[in-house]
Symmetry: C2
């Protein structure tokens, strides 16, 4: 089994998951196949919906003599006639529904292995939301015991070890940590179906977050039993990779249609609010008149079209860096999902989510309402400003939100101020305080807000402003009369130098500007836009500024300076000696060769690639954060861009 | 031409629009057909997308000798091979794009008539957003002149008279009013394309609202040039019935794909975030590799699938009373649309929108974020509470938001209080203050909120609370110690009587309870739910309470009492003498027979049907408000439910 990250956004990721039977791109949805009764065959699903992987139930196969014999003789792939990866479930859910199952926990894993399942599942103990903590603890103890025994018999099958722990955060995290320490391959988050059935999305979010905290980040995570697309975007944003759907047929049997915003009864609809091939071919009244068997089939197809479309939307959103926007749009369809978003406002979750957040994105940040200000990227900006930004002067003149970039919009006022006094200029923006030297950095310039914002965002922004300007002398711009309040100064500060210093400290950390710029500085600007492009220190090209996001691309001469002055492990990705020759040839760094990494590096950050003796080898761009680099066995960790010659 | 309302929500409406060539259900979208170059034929559109009506350009037909001759000889339906209703444009947009058109304004109307157009358009003067008020005034003057002349030559063709007025609200309203006074049939809102191109949605919303204020409410309204589904839900909620799309082909030519949330470039997509037949059959990379002609065709089809699906979603939302929720979900996709929503917070717009808002809805009110509290229905509740609700006692005990219905949730506390003192009980809910006697009325009981709400909603609710409790003695419930603060009273108030009194005043207006209940009152409750079902006054069945929305259904004996005590025109719909025999037979009231109507009646309100001498004939449920009843020539105004025997 191989699992590697290809792209990412929020804590979501586009991955390739490979078994001997093929490769699946995640996030993905596995339709549940009932081996006794296939409404739509897996083959047909592949053709219609692009289904890449399915899940079927080994417990059902095992307890039926005919199915068991056929599966053991021909394999599960022949049994359900599908040549892609197949996951099998173990009967845990049946034990939840019927109280108990009549199968040995190790025997069912061996059985899954013997019928050739790609991913087999342990028979874990389903933790219900209403159980006591003691009972939940007993459950995860038994689950862990079975997982350890199951690992020994898994053979070449990937083993799914399900995280339980009811709604107790510490138990979820503990269970996830302990499961991660044994040789599992795939980690479902279990026991969540009753949470989803009762729309307890706040508890669901907590269950996902605490499970994820404890899990090895290099393993696929499956939200077990989640088949309604309503929850897909949020679950992916929190780090789920797989979903399974029996909902498509269950709802169809009930004459209910699944949509991205919820569920509708066919009989309540006067029009089909959808453009899938089923809803494009039929009207509501045509569907209503069909015989029972036919309508179930058509609705099941519709349900899968909608579910897979949501997966495609999520993938597309990850690729263009707009997953949080998709999430925020989707949660507005359901008050209980909005409630779940409030859980994400807690500091501990922001700290955790921030670690996966990429440094910048392909698309501007779009405001969607009062959830936007609580995004991890906003939290990061605030933290970095507090930690890494140092104002140049004692006084600060504050301007309100305006057009972007602010240095252009407030150019006249800025020049008037600068000609008289040396003060900091700060924008009290809708994203929080923005020093004018940082106004071209993502997301300060690359964000779109309405003219007025909601009261909650205002409150949050005011808090950020207060924290940032605490103990500072702040003057709010009130037109020309503000100029009279400023005491004049003769010393002139070069604005470009101020900008490159501030940006380099924000991007690389405190002290970066000092180590990068210590000689004759030449700043080359774009003739077309007037924006800074290239920076030379003593004739050495140290940095380029990217027009898109206002961040620097680190040149090898700049990397040398940072390497010399910033102490290990700052900005470093340290690689195994075996990989050194490859990196020297210009090859990128694979995760399995990373032996250490600066814990402050984030995905898409510029970094220094060094060997185990901290010799600088190259400069590159990360795809993973520290935890991921140290966990992943497959895939790229750093894209190598420029080598030491 | 016939136009009649079938159902409604917000200021949006489901209508039937009929010409001699067929019936169209609105809201609807007319794809633009270029008679020179049909990428997809109208016939194919009908088959694929359920297209019911198309629009083509008479100016283009007129200036091309071949097309002109063919159209004059065979008719425009043969020319483009479509047998449903066809609208034709006049060249106005061409005059905007190219500065001028070489055609006589009256000749082009005659031409449209002669080629058999179902809806022909006047050659109005396109008012750009950047023009001065004087220029805009001159433009509408000329437009009006041409409209008057055009009406004279329209023949049997329905004539579309386009509302202009640039971005000047008073000019929009004036132009709309003047156009409504001449014999036009169809009212496009023109000059809005540059607003949409520049995402000036706030100005667009203003243009729609002020045009609508001036227009005859019984005529179809067309948002001319609006072909992007992003704007459809909001535009429909403000009262637009028709859209036209040339966008489907324009965007396709540019390799761009239309979605409900905006536009994406095909070449930026790694997955097609859609489940339409095109996107279900092809992957992104397959589409990218197609030759130019083929990809344009596929994208155009995709664009129309998406656009028509949005229309179906809107129709479905109107039917189940969730149009505002659809709007609020959609606007979260675009900060400029969110900006436009702020325009709706103005008092004058709330006053106007409230008039179309139905009394109750099939579906619970769902909170989507900070826009929800600004909905017209919330405004109405606040106004009615201030105008129609009278507290019973001097002191008011206030409880915070809780589970619904509040009288059940707070039953214990309520009983403790009532056993000691006579006080009003008020819930400081997320929708504003709710007297406990009204807690089963829509939307107080039929609303879904998350546990916590955003700061903006809190602020709005606090304002409402303050206004409602001004000069009142308010005690916030703090547990048992609150009981000690209450001075005891011996008089017992019957809770059921309090409820039926409060509800009847809220529903029928001040004084209604006095006229309904003046004798021996018997209240029959549901054995199953314990809820009030039927109310008898002196053995006469006066009211039934609906379990779904907590409103009363008025029985004929109740109607008689209200009719006797509430002065004309209160609650009345007055009908023409000619219609009296039909109503006496139990037939419903058609709009054309309404001669007067209480201006406070709203759609779905219970009403008294009376003759011109104010004799009570029947009791019914309105479908229209006063303005609509007096304007509509077709369709039902009041559903007759019970007759005077």
């Amino acid at each position: 089994m191989k699992f590697e990250i290809k792209d990412r956004d929020a804590a979501g990721r586009l991955c390739k998951f490979t078994t001997k039977n093929g490769t699946v791109t995640t996030p993905n949805l596995m339709p549940v196949i009932n081996p006794n009764k296939m409404l739509i065959t897996p083959k047909e699903m592949k053709k219609l919906f692009g289904t890449e992987m399915v899940i079927t139930n080994s417990y059902i196969i095992h307890k039926d003599n005919k199915l068991r014999e056929k599966a053991l003789n021909d394999g599960v792939h022949k049994l359900i006639d599908f040549d892609g990866p197949i996951m099998t479930d173990s009967g845990t859910f049946q034990s939840y529904v019927y109280g108990d199952v009549n199968v040995d926990p190790i025997e069912i894993v061996q059985f899954q292995r013997d019928i050739g399942s790609d991913v087999g599942t342990i028979l874990d103990v389903f933790g219900t939301p209403d159980q006591t903590k003691t009972k939940a603890e007993r459950g995860i103890k038994e689950t862990l015991k079975r997982a350890k025994q199951s690992v020994r018999v898994k053979g070449k099958m990937a083993l799914a070890c399900t995280v339980q722990g009811s709604i107790y955060p510490e138990l979820r995290e503990l269970c996830a940590k302990k499961l991660s320490s044994i040789d599992g391959d795939f980690f479902p988050i279990g026991g969540v179906v009753p949470l989803m059935e009762n729309q307890r999305y706040s508890d669901l979010v907590k269950s996902i977050l605490y499970s994820k905290r404890g899990l090895n980040p290099s393993k696929p995570v499956h939200l077990f039993g989640a088949g309604h697309p309503l929850i897909f975007p949020l679950a992916v944003a929190l780090g789920c990779d797989f979903f399974d759907s029996s909902a498509y047929v269950k709802y169809a049997n009930d004459r209910r249609m699944i949509f991205s915003w919820g569920t509708e009864k066919l009989d309540d609809l006067i029009e089909l609010p959808c453009n899938c091939p089923i809803c494009s071919k039929h009207t509501a009244s045509e569907l209503k008149k069909m015989d029972k068997k036919e309508v179930v089939l058509q609705l099941a197809k519709h349900n899968l079209y909608v579910s897979f479309a949501e997966i495609k939307k999520i993938k597309s959103a990850i690729a263009n860096g707009s997953l949080w926007e998709l999430v925020e749009r989707r949660v507005s369809a359901n008050p209980y999902l909005l409630e779940a978003m409030q859980e994400l406002q807690k500091e501990e979750h922001k700290v955790w989510l921030e670690q996966s957040e990429t440094t910048s994105k392909n698309k501007a940040l779009f405001y969607t309402g009062n959830n936007t200000i609580h995004r991890p990227i906003v939290y990061r900006c605030r933290q970095r400003l507090l930690d890494r930004y140092k104002p140049l002067f004692g006084n600060t003149v504050v301007f309100p939100e305006g057009k972007k970039p602010y240095s252009k919009y407030y150019a006249k006022q800025k020049d008037e101020i600068k000609s008289k006094a040396n003060v900091n200029i700060l924008i009290n923006s809708y994203l929080g305080p923005v020093p004018i030297e940082l106004d071209e950095m993502y997301p300060f310039a690359q964000s779109v807000f309405p003219k007025k914002i909601d009261e909650e965002t205002k409150t949050e922004v005011a808090k950020m402003f207060e924290k940032f300007t605490k103990n500072k002398n702040v003057i709010f711009w009130e037109g020309k009369k503000t100029l009279d309040k400023l005491s004049s100064s003769k010393k002139k500060i070069d604005e470009d130098i101020a900008r490159i210093s501030a940006v380099s400290n924000m991007q690389f950390g405190k002290g970066a500007s000092k180590s990068l710029f210590d000689g004759k500085i030449d700043i080359i600007k774009s003739k077309k836009t007037g924006k800074i492009r290239n920076i030379y220190n003593n004739e050495n090209h140290v940095l380029s500024m990217r027009a898109g996001d206002g961040f620097f691309t680190l040149k090898i001469d700049g990397a040398k300076r940072l390497h010399k002055s910033l102490k290990y492990p700052k900005l470093r990705v340290t690689i195994d000696n075996d990989a050194v020759p490859f990196v020297k040839e210009g090859k990128s760094v694979f995760a399995k060769f990373v032996v250490d990494c600066d814990s402050e590096l984030r995905p898409f950050d510029e970094c220094l690639i060094v060997d185990e003796k901290d010799h600088l080898l190259a400069v590159g761009r990360t795809l993973l954060n520290r935890d991921e680099m140290l966990s992943f066995e497959y895939g790229m960790a750093v894209k190598n861009r420029e080598n030491i010659k």
